[in-house]
Each structure stands twice: as C-alpha cells, then as structure tokens.
C-alpha cells in the first residue's frame, strides 16, 4: 500500500465508545506511521480533548452511547472553532444508510466509512480525502481566514477549468454567496448544478436562495421536492416549516416540524423551534414535549438555553389549575423541579431568576400552595426592585398577576400602576396591561393613569420642543435628561434625551461625558422592534451620534 502522504506529524483523534474497536482503529492508524493518536470514549471527552489540541484528523463513530453523538460532536466542534474547514472529520457508521445526515448539512463530515471496514479501506479513504482537502486547501484557508472574496476567485478558477474539484468548488461558492447575502448569484450557482442533476445540496441551496429573496412559495416548492425525493433530509423540513410560517400557515409549519423532529429527535435547535412555534399556536401539549426534549438535550449541547426550561414550565402551567387532579399535580411538580434546577444552575443571572421565581409563584398558586406562592413572589419582587429599568416587561406583568392570584391585591395594584407609568407608551403591551388592570380591579383608574401619563409626556415634549426652537439647548438637555432618569423605560424620552445631547454637541462641540450619556440613552432603546414606528428615529440618532463621535 503506497501512502503518498506523511502522517508521522499529523494529530489524530479517535472517538469510539466500543473499546476493542477503538483499539482496532488506533492500530490501523498507527500502521500509517502516525505518532500522535488520542482517543476519546464519548462526546464530552472528545470536546474536551479538542479544546486542548487542534487535530488534523478526527475519526468518530456516529453512535457514542449516552450523550452526544458523532454528528453533535462535529457541530459543537465547528461551533467552537475546534474543528476548522481544514480539519478532516470522518464519521464511522454502523448503519451505512446514515448518508444523508440527520442534522444540518451545514456541518457535514468530510466522509463516511461504513463498518465493517478493513485497514486498507481506511487508509485508502484517508488518502483520498487528504488529497481532496489538499486541492481545496488554499480555498479553505481563505475561508477560515474570513477572506471570502479571495476564496471565490479561486473557486471560479477551478470551476472554469472543470477540474476534479469543480463540483466541490461550486458548493463552496454557493455557500459563500448565501453568506454574503448575494442571493441572486447563489441562485444562479445552484440552478446551474441542478441543470445537470437534481443534486440534494443544490436543491437545498436554491430553496434557501429563494427564501432569502422572500419568494416563499417558490422556495417551499423546492423544499417539498427535496422531501419527496428523500424523506430523510431533515434540513428540508426545517426550511419548509420556515416557508409555511412566512406564508401565514403556522399550523402546517408546526406539523412539518413535528415530522422532522420524529426523524431526528436529537437536534436541540429543532426542538426549540418546534416548541416556540407550538406555543404561538397554543398547542401546549406539543410545546411541552418539545421543550422537555430541549431541556434534556441541553445537558449535552452548546446550544442549550435557560429559556427552554422557562418555556417548558410555561407549557406545563396550562395544566396546573386548581381542579386539574393528578395530571395537574404531576405537571406542577415537574415545573417546580425544572425551576429548582434552573435556579441552582444560574445563581447570578438576576433577570432569569426573576422570571423563574415568578413562574414558581404561578405554579404554587396553581397547586393551591398559597404560602409558598407568596414566598416566591416576594423573592421575585425584591429582584424586580433591584433590577429597576432592566426588568423585562412581561416578567413584571406576570408578577403583578401573580400577586393578585394569591390574594395580595394591593401589592398587585401598586405594581400595576408602576408598570403603566413605565410602559404606557408601548403599544404592544397595551392590551396585556389593560387586562392586568382589569384583573386588579383598577381598570378605570388605569385608563385615567394612561391618559394622565400621556398628557404629561405630551407637555414634556412640548416644553422641550419649545426650548429647541428658542435655541435653549442647555434647558432642553436638562429637561429631557431628568425625564429620562425618572422614566428610564420610556422609549421616546430616551430618544429625546439623546437627541437633545446630540443637538447640543453639534452646536457646542463634542464632549466625552455627554457622548457617554447619550450612548446610554440610545442603548436603553436598543431592543426596539424593527417594525416599531420609532425604530427609524432610533437608527437616525445612532448615525448622528456616530458623526459627532467622528467629528473633530
């Protein structure tokens, strides 16, 4: 067997849970002349080893027992930058039918080798893949170095020469163009490939290009084509669901995601997407299952989010009503468990703790454990006060609702009034807050409060505008900055304060303290929704702020 490559300095990692097989593969690799060969028994071990050493070759079994599988190791490895485009990752599979990856095509291994294989086959495969990587090496290095445009140039050279790696280069080109948001060009690339053959990755690519060009109907047809040709291409389901969502068919989207999840239950991102969609569709049973999976998978995944636990509890809470019987009790207990675990793991995330404690209070209330509910809500309130303007609106509303539910009506009402003063401008929250006020029994009062706060704001703005018109920039700044301290959540006030400062500086020259303050006001508004009517003003002010920064 003539090996054309020198493996003596290359670093290998073998990931395999079956000990005899692990040794067997190690011996095969040793016969190649490799000297640096590490082994790992399972996913977590592998990730750890990869964090300490950059391997040239990773040979991983797909099945690794409990915990991460080979595909998940690859995904996490790529996500964390341990596995580069230049790394050679080969999946050893017992099921030779695992070709079309169950996860995301985005993170595909360089090759699959079906067991059983002998030494000669492994060596042959390594040689072939190494050779291919070498031909692609320049391109891959440019990609790793974030020099996509140069990579494209090299790709085009290979494509024009119709070299051996032309098809690989077309795929890479398509990927880069999508990344660069050059969707029309990407479409062209994939279309060209599809002209020759209905290749899977090209179908997926052309679908994505159409999706990003907002041609949701055409995109959905491509993805449906893919699924018809290959029921197992899970990524196609994900995209089809996204299309259905955009086409205003969230129920269909959910069914599609449910199918996808059945095919590939271990992908946490998909479970999260399904859960969120199900919650929107108020299908709490499906949401519950999806988030439960997500929480469980989260234990082994870099994509885990504490929100999954919160969402799981939200889904369970529909069942936790006083007359629900055993299923209610079970759901309640599971919620409490999940929250306990969440609080244990995230001791220093105050916003998370607030949300978790509020849900805990709700759960206890549903289980008729009023005393415990009050304790949780009080704890939550302390955090709410500490957080001040950083407390999220929905948590505050839930907290208020919680107090009312456990009979602490006055606390609930106080909180409701506070919430109105802070969020009266927020159209999206209006209905929720009005409902809260009704529950609190202060609907009439809240309507008055809304009106008076709106008046106050109008007056304030009128005063400020007059100051501007009269050239009294200093007074305008003082007026709005004081208001911004009083009402730190108020979007318009923050924008006004920032604008006043910027105008002042445009006239009187820049000042670092003022720049910092105006930056702070703008940052408070950062999370504004793109569709919010004030969004454009925010963007304008950010630009103006930058020009002051850049001025002499």
């Amino acid at each position: 067997m003539l090996e054309k490559h020198n493996y003596s300095k290359k670093k290998f990692l073998i990931i395999e849970d079956f000990p005899e097989f692990r040794l067997s593969v190690k011996r095969m690799v040793e016969s190649l002349g490799a000297k640096i060969i590490d082994t790992a028994m399972h996913g977590e071990d592998a990730i750890e080893k990869m964090s300490k050493r950059r391997y040239d070759y990773v040979l991983s079994d797909y099945n690794l027992g409990e915990g991460k599988d080979g595909q998940q190791v690859l995904e996490e490895g790529k996500h964390r930058g341990y596995v580069k485009s230049t790394t050679i990752y080969i999946m050893l599979t017992a099921e030779s039918t695992l070709n079309m990856v169950m996860g995301a095509l985005e993170y595909e291994p360089d090759g699959y080798l079906a067991k059983p294989f002998n030494k000669e086959m492994l060596i042959n495969r390594l040689e072939k893949i190494t050779q291919k990587k070498e031909s692609l090496m320049n391109i891959l290095k440019l990609i790793d170095g974030k020099k996509d445009d140069e990579a494209l140039v090299l790709c085009d050279k290979e494509i024009d020469n119709e070299s051996r790696i032309a098809l690989d280069c077309l795929k890479i080109k398509g990927d880069i163009l999508l990344k660069q948001k050059n969707f029309a060009a990407a479409y062209g690339v994939y279309d060209g490939v599809l002209d020759e053959r209905q290749t899977l990755w090209a179908l997926l690519g052309i679908g994505k290009a159409l999706y990003y060009q907002e041609e949701y109907y055409d995109a959905s047809e491509k993805f449906q084509d893919l699924i018809d040709q290959n029921q197992m291409c899970v990524e196609a389901y994900d995209w089809l669901a996204k299309c259905k969502n955009k086409l205003g068919d969230p129920l269909d989207a959910q069914t599609i995601l449910e199918n996808a999840v059945r095919l590939s239950p271990k992908a946490i991102l998909r479970q999260q997407a399904l859960g969120l969609l199900a919650l929107e569709n108020e299908d709490f049973a499906v949401a519950e299952k999806a988030f439960r999976h997500a929480v469980k998978l989260g234990k082994h995944s870099c994509y885990q989010r504490p929100d999954d636990s919160l969402n799981l509890v939200e889904s369970l809470l529909v069942k936790v009503v006083p007359d629900a019987g055993i299923s209610g009790k079970r759901a309640g207990n599971e919620s409490l468990q999940v929250i306990k675990e969440l609080l244990r793991k995230h001791r220093s995330d105050e916003v998370l703790k607030l949300k978790a404690l509020v849900l805990e209070g709700e759960t206890f209330a549903g289980l008729k454990q009023i005393k415990e509910a009050k304790t949780s809500l009080d704890k939550a309130e302390k955090i709410y006060q500490k957080l001040g303007d950083k407390a999220p609106a929905d948590a505050a509303i839930k907290l208020a609702n919680g107090f009312i539910k456990v009979g602490e009506e006055e606390k609930g009402r106080e909180l409701t009034r506070e919430i109105i003063k802070v969020y009266f401008e927020d159209d999206q929250l209006k209905d929720e807050i009005k409902n809260l006020a009704t529950t609190a029994g202060i609907r009439a009062e809240s309507d008055n409060l809304y009106a008076s706060e709106e008046e106050r704001l109008k007056d304030l703005n009128k005063k400020g505008v007059r100051f501007f018109q009269e050239g009294k920039l200093q007074e305008a700044v003082e007026l709005f900055e004081k208001a911004a301290e009083d009402m730190p959540h108020n979007v318009s006030i923050n924008l006004n304060a920032a604008q006043a400062l910027i105008r002042y500086m445009e006239h009187n020259g820049k000042d670092s303290k003022m720049l910092n303050r105006s930056r702070r006001y703008l940052d408070r508004v950062k999370g504004l929704d793109k569709d919010d009517k004030r969004f454009n003003r925010y963007m304008e002010l950010v630009k103006l702020h930058q020009s002051v920064v850049d001025s002499r």
Binding site: F18, S96, N118, N124, R125, T199, N230
Partner: protein
C-alpha cells in the same frame, strides 16, 4: 395543503441499536481475522484458506444484514437516498480493497477495469451493497478470476462483475430475467441479493429512465456476468 403526519415506530429504534451492536461485533470479527491472517505466512495455503473462509462467511452475514436493513428502510420510505457525483474508479477501488484479502486467501485474482476520468451520479452506499453482493456471488461461482469493471453504455453507467467459472445456472438466469421485469421470484440468499440489487437499480432514475439489472453468461471471462445499469 395540509401536511401529512408521519408515524413513528419504536421497533425502528430497537432495530437501529441492534444493528449498531451487530455491526460492531461483525467488525471486530473481521478485523480480528485480518490480524490473524497477517500473522500467517502466505505460503501456508491451508490455514490461509480457512481464515479466508471465516472472513468470507462473516462478510456474507454482514452483507445480508446490510441488505435487509436497507430494504426495510426503503420499504418504509425511510432510506436517506443520497445520489451524488462520484469518481467511479475510486469507488471500485474501495470495493476491491474490501475483497482483496478474502480473494487472495482463496487464490482468486481480483481485477478492476475503469477509466480514471469516469464520474457518475449514484448512491455510493447502495451501489457498494450491490457490488458486495455480486462479488460475493462471483467468489462462489468462479474458478480463479473475478473482474470488476465500469463504463458508459447508451447513456447508462454499466458496472459489471464477471467471473471465470462455469457460468450461472438456469435458475439464476431465470431469476435475473424476472428481476429485470420486476416480477417476484426466488427465495433465500439469492433471492435477497437479486431483489436488493434490482431495487437499488430502480431507485436510480434520471430524465424518465430507470436503472436495471441483468445476469448472463456472456462475459469475456467465460463465466457468469452480473450487470447493473444506472441512468
């Protein structure tokens, strides 16, 4: 359009994990045989023969397992078909490497004939199964030589496995003809093999044409010939 709900099966989960275990055991069997074989002198004909037989039989079990599993998935619309562009010569080389140890142990010469520049679209995993099956058969029927070749023919990729034995018996040729017509036929391992190969061929389609399988005794080596055409 309302999406259709797929149904899950817990048998599939059991199947997957059982196959994983069986494959691991078989892999270990085969790897151990390889290591034992390399400890023996090539001159020691008898011992070599026996080890080759062990390897051959273990290989057969493995291949039958793979075919059954694939067919199960295909029947249940669960097979992840992956028709991709491959260098045919590279593909055949890998199959050659799979069999070379067994073949030489049995005193059989294995020969590969294919143009370096021939590329074609096919599902490598499935076609490997077909070649496995055909070569396995050829090992049984041949005298001392098996040839693995590929070329284009009338817009199809034609992969042939020929041997220099007595040729296929009548019942095999009949079964082959039935397979080509798509009729149900014989049972047993032969049946499984042919059925699998014809299904694989049919799964390959392009511009309205479908793949098919043929058996005859018209090969250059004067023995049996297995042919698979892929559009």
């Amino acid at each position: 359009m309302v999406a259709r709900k797929l149904t899950a099966s817990s048998f599939q989960a059991i199947l997957a994990s059982s196959v994983h275990d069986m494959k691991n055991s078989l892999s270990m069997l085969l790897n151990t045989f390889d290591e034992i074989a390399s400890d023996y002198h090539p001159q020691d004909g008898n011992k070599n023969q026996r080890i080759s037989n062990l390897q051959y039989q273990a290989s057969r079990v493995n291949n039958d397992l793979m075919k059954l599993l694939s067919l199960y998935k295909i029947e249940n619309d669960q097979y992840p078909l992956n028709i991709a562009k491959h260098a045919v010569a590279d593909f055949l080389e890998e199959q050659f490497l799979r069999f070379s140890a067994i073949a030489s142990g049995k005193g059989i010469t294995l020969d590969v004939v294919c143009d370096e520049d021939l590329w074609w679209y096919f599902d490598a995993s499935l076609l490997a199964g077909v070649v496995n099956d055909a070569v396995g058969n050829a090992t049984h029927y041949c005298n001392k030589a098996i040839r693995l070749s590929a070329k284009t023919h009338d817009g199809y990729l034609l992969v042939s496995i020929e041997d220099d034995g007595e040729g296929f018996p009548e019942f095999m040729l009949d079964a082959g003809a039935s397979a080509k017509k798509g009729i149900d036929f014989t049972s047993g391992s032969t049946g499984l093999g042919l059925y699998f190969c014809s299904i694989v061929a049919k799964m390959h389609s392009h511009e309205g044409r479908y793949g098919y399988v043929e058996l005859d005794n018209a090969g250059e080596l004067k023995g049996g010939r297995f042919l698979i055409y892929l559009p």
